[in-house]
């Protein structure tokens, strides 16, 4: 609905009042067009007001339709000036006239149409000059057009002829017949849409009529902040672990030495996973500066010769490889630190967990990233 200006609102209100008060004393407004005329109202405005009143059941409006004929621009000019064939006829002097001179006397289209029509009506002689064949002609077409202009009826055949010459076009007139509706009241009360502080505090809410609410539309979308979906899942996992009695490991170190990330976990130094196409190695800081020395010796021994029941790998373990810093490829690197610490502090039963980011230097595809979260 287009918003109305204040002036338009008061005009509409006036029309409303006229209609409603009229219906108070009359059964029906038979023809909205005539009613509008009688009361000096704009018919179009009246139509929209009636629609609105109908929507709220103040009135009941029935469609009425009238078909009327109306003159085209061409038709209008002929009604005033006469049909072109008569104009041509009248332009011919008694002694006759040459075709060229006749043409010059008249409007181009008037001549063209009129001459052809006059010839068709057998009103003209063309040789040796154009001259009148009959002494008198009646301008029926003009009369018919004037009839139409005055709103009078014509025979169907005449209507067809005029229509064919494109002198008249149909006009459908729509209006209403209006009666009282089920919610008729002499004056319209505005329907409220919401309970506001004003009507609440003033108590005027008791007198208000409320507009129906559309329950089939959706409500207003909520505003507010959001937590990240992946992190919401992480929170749930954390809760599960904590409920089961697991202790969270401190994983806030993305940079790890190869020693803790691989060697302490018995991953041999020539293992493919330590390749540059699976692991991110660091340029800065390139090497770990401290490693637990006596533990390192024990790790070296197991890799090279075995021990604690294992036969080992039988290769030369290199310290430089263990010193290389990496972006950790798994949080198990943290687990190995924790187990070492547990052994130093004195063993008690423990359950550890962590959920944090790890890094793998692999091809990225639709289910694999270079950085991801791991338990």
């Amino acid at each position: 609905m287009v918003a109305l200006s204040d002036k338009e609102v008061t005009k509409a209100q006036h029309v409303e009042e006229v209609i409603l008060s009229h219906l108070q004393t009359h059964e029906e407004i038979v023809n909205s067009g005539e009613f509008a005329k009688a009361n000096g109202l704009e018919h179009d405005l009246l139509l929209s007001v009636v629609q609105s009143l109908h929507g709220f059941n103040y009135v009941e409006a029935q469609d009425i339709k009238k078909e009327a004929w109306v003159l085209t621009e061409e038709g209008n000019s002929y009604a005033t000036l006469g049909s072109p064939e008569v104009q041509v006829y009248k332009a011919i002097p008694l002694e006759g006239i040459s075709r060229e001179d006749l043409q010059k006397k008249l409007d181009v289209s008037v001549f063209k149409i009129g001459f052809a029509k006059a010839m068709g009506n057998k009103w003209l002689e063309t040789k040796p000059l154009v001259s009148r064949k009959v002494s008198n002609v009646e301008d029926q077409v003009q009369q018919q057009l004037v009839h139409i202009r005055n709103g009078q009826d014509l025979a169907a055949a005449d209507i067809d002829a005029l229509k064919k010459r494109k002198l008249i076009i149909p006009l459908i007139w729509k209006g209403y017949s209006i009666r009282k509706g089920t919610s008729y009241a002499p004056k319209r009360t505005k329907a409220a849409t919401d309970l506001t502080r004003e009507v609440l505090q003033r108590g005027t809410w008791k007198d208000l009529v409320f507009k129906d609410y559309n329950y089939n539309a959706l409500g207003q979308p909520t505003e507010g902040g959001h937590l990240h979906p992946l992190l919401k899942v992480r929170a749930q996992f954390r809760e599960i672990f904590l409920e089961m009695g697991f202790e969270e490991m401190p994983t806030n170190n993305f940079i790890e030495s190869s020693f803790w990330n691989f060697d302490a976990l018995f991953q041999p130094q020539q293992h493919p996973a330590r390749d540059s196409h699976d692991t991110f190695f660091l340029q800065v800081p390139e090497k770990a500066q401290f490693l637990p020395e006596d533990y390192l010796q024990r790790v070296k021994e197991i890799h090279e010769h075995g021990g604690y029941g294992s036969i080992g790998y039988g290769y030369n373990w290199k310290r430089e490889d263990a010193e290389k810093n990496v972006l950790r490829t798994h949080t198990t690197a943290v687990s190995s630190r924790m187990l070492y610490k547990l052994a130093q502090d004195g063993f008690t039963p423990k359950r550890y967990f962590s959920i944090d980011r790890v890094f793998r230097n692999e091809a990225v595809d639709r289910t694999h990233l270079a950085e991801f979260h791991q338990n």
């Binding site: 937590l227 992946l230 904590l242 697991f246 969270e248 993305f254 493919p272 190695f281 390139e286």
Partner: protein
């Protein structure tokens, strides 16, 4: 994990049983391998060549099976089928033996120590090849070269038709110009020097040239008639090329790692001796080193590993008798017997065949017992020890803060830790700051740009904003996550720091909104607003940093130290990140709060 391509019908024939795809899938799963893909030979080639063609009906179905990286005995159809036949009880484990017939000799010259010190050899007598077996033989060598041999750098395999050669053999290292032979697939003779050049354009072989290229001597194997067997690790000689008619095969593995060379040799002979006249019998070769020490290869000895029955049961969580454990291990190619240990406890003595170089420790035996038992058959129980749950204080605190900021109407984002140097410094106008930080040496990506580990959360937020220009205004983003800074006190030289950052973007800058967020954070953490200069509480001090707009930026001082800053982002920085509306951000370190 490596994948093995096996023809489905050949496999079922070798398994002596037909399976539906689902049944086979389950069998694989039970055994601990995985049916990764079902395709056809031609489809594989099409995929490699990136062609689009329709499948023809009569193409051989290929199973792609993923096997553990340390199971070299499962890398070919022969090994897989054998393992599965034993697993399903159709046969027992084979016993491998060395024949005692005339022993060939391989003499090692001292110069080989300069480039590739070790060689091990074996002979398969009376073998019968057909096309499929031959292909399998070549494939296994390829797979071993890729995996265990680390692309031929550690071990290189050469296989030869013994019928074309005459022992004794020598393993030497000579200057490349002195080595001359007709290599496989060629007709002309080349010197080794010429071959280095010739193979530079060979897609397959050029990858291996670097292994010996710069050495003054190249490794080479000769027979007694000075026929070149091979130029490891590059190419074999054409003279001794194996055909489908070959009956006797000489296998030589040259290496820089003797342990791995032995495993490679053992894998080849144990897999393919099943096609020899005397099944599972291998003819040994004596390798005599330059100092006169002689060793017989292959070393097919069976190790024994004793494991306590109680250890097995305790580890897995079952109560099996010795006999049951032995039955299970038999199905895993680890024949075993029951013994009593010196402490009177029941033990299982597992005999580890040469095919199982992956068994290093009793726990590996336990794993095989569990697999044969069936992981899904193990009864689930609750552990009996009592422990207390505990959160890391920093994580707990972070989660509380995150909730508060979300409640303040901000939307959480999760951004990349790896980024480019530009994003981390110049695009933020941080030109004159010391832009050192953690740098990755081997970044992924075609232009190697993504090589910085973030020291700030701002690039991530600004990038997110730049990529979401059409989002309804105002946009309010935040992240609570780690950045990494260099730290000399840490053993690795770097440490994580937990930061909080938030961004506001709208038609107006929202500077006071971000300021309000800072106040709100302090409020929920319980830090009171203090006067400028106070050493307790927090206050805001105007700052002058290049990433922010002049006159609309400040540092956040907590208990006398600066923990972060906030401000309107400088228009130049906004342009750098392709952002068209004004933004305000805050970033602070939250660890001082704890």
């Amino acid at each position: 994990m490596p994948t093995v391509n096996v023809g489905r019908d050949r496999l079922y024939e070798a398994l002596q049983q037909h399976y539906s795809e689902e049944e086979f899938d389950e069998l694989c799963f039970d055994f601990g391998i995985e049916l990764d893909d079902v395709t056809t030979e031609k489809a594989i080639i099409r995929k490699e060549k990136h062609l689009q063609e329709d499948t023809l009906e009569d193409e051989e179905i290929i199973y792609k099976i993923e096997v553990p990286a340390n199971r070299y005995d499962l890398l070919c159809l022969e090994g897989l089928a054998r393992a599965l036949r034993i697993f399903t009880g159709k046969q027992g484990s084979p016993t491998f033996s060395l024949s005692s017939s005339a022993i060939q000799k391989m003499y090692v010259q001292p110069e080989t120590a300069l480039i590739r010190p070790y060689v091990v050899c074996a002979i398969l007598r009376g073998i019968t090849f057909n096309q499929a077996r031959y292909n399998s033989f070549i494939d296994l060598q390829d797979r071993l070269h890729q995996n265990l041999c680390r692309k031929r750098t550690l071990v290189a395999i050469g296989t030869h038709d013994l019928g074309t050669l005459e022992g004794p053999f020598t393993y030497e290292a000579l200057p490349p110009s002195e080595i001359k032979f007709v290599p496989l697939k060629q007709r002309m003779e080349f010197t080794a020097e010429e071959l280095m050049d010739f193979y530079k354009s060979d897609l397959k072989l050029k990858k291996y040239l670097h292994i010996i290229e710069s050495s003054p001597v190249f490794p080479v194997l000769y027979d007694s008639k000075r026929t070149v067997l091979s130029l490891p690790p590059i190419i074999n000689g054409a003279h001794s090329a194996i055909t489908l008619q070959t009956k006797d095969v000489l296998i030589e593995c040259t290496a820089t790692d003797l342990t791995k060379a032995k495993i490679v040799l053992n894998t080849l002979v144990t897999m393919f001796s099943e096609y020899c006249e005397k099944k599972f019998e291998v003819e040994p070769v004596e390798v005599i080193s330059s100092d006169g020490n002689a060793t017989i290869y292959p070393d097919l000895h069976v190790r024994s590993l004793e494991v306590d029955l109680a250890y097995i049961n305790g580890y897995i969580g079952v109560s099996l008798q010795s006999k049951q454990v032995i039955d299970l291990l038999n199905r895993m190619q680890l024949p075993s017997e029951a013994t009593i240990g010196s402490n009177g406890k029941s033990k299982i003595k597992a005999l580890i065949p040469p095919t199982r170089s992956d068994v290093l420790h009793p726990c590996d035996v336990v794993e095989d017992v569990a697999i044969a038992y069936g992981y899904n058959n193990i009864l689930k129980t609750l552990p009996r020890s009592l422990t207390q749950g505990k959160q890391q204080p920093l994580n707990h605190f972070s989660d509380l803060l995150r909730s508060e900021i979300a409640m303040a109407g901000f939307t959480e984002v999760l951004t990349w830790i790896l980024g480019s140097e530009a994003e981390n410094f110049w695009l933020l106008n941080r030109k004159h700051k010391e832009h050192t930080g953690v740098i990755v040496g081997n970044p992924r990506g075609s232009d190697f740009e993504v090589n910085r580990v973030r020291a700030s959360l701002l690039p991530g937020l600004l990038k997110t904003m730049g990529h979401n220009k059409d989002s309804p205004r105002p946009v309010k983003l935040f992240e609570v996550s780690d950045v990494v800074l260099l730290d000399n006190t840490k053993d690795v030289g770097a440490a994580n720091e937990r930061h909080l950052a938030a961004l506001y973007c709208n038609t107006t800058s929202g500077f006071e909104v971000i300021h309000g967020l800072v106040d709100r954070i302090m409020e929920v953490v319980g830090i009171s607003n203090a006067a400028v200069g106070d050493t307790k509480g927090y206050y805001i001090a105007p700052s002058n940093e290049p990433e922010f707009f002049k006159g609309r930026q400040a540092n956040i001082i907590l208990n006398g130290s600066c923990i972060g800053s906030f401000g309107i982002i400088h228009p130049q920085v906004l342009a750098n990140f392709d952002i068209l509306d004004p933004c305000s951000v805050v970033e602070l370190n939250i660890e001082p709060f704890l």
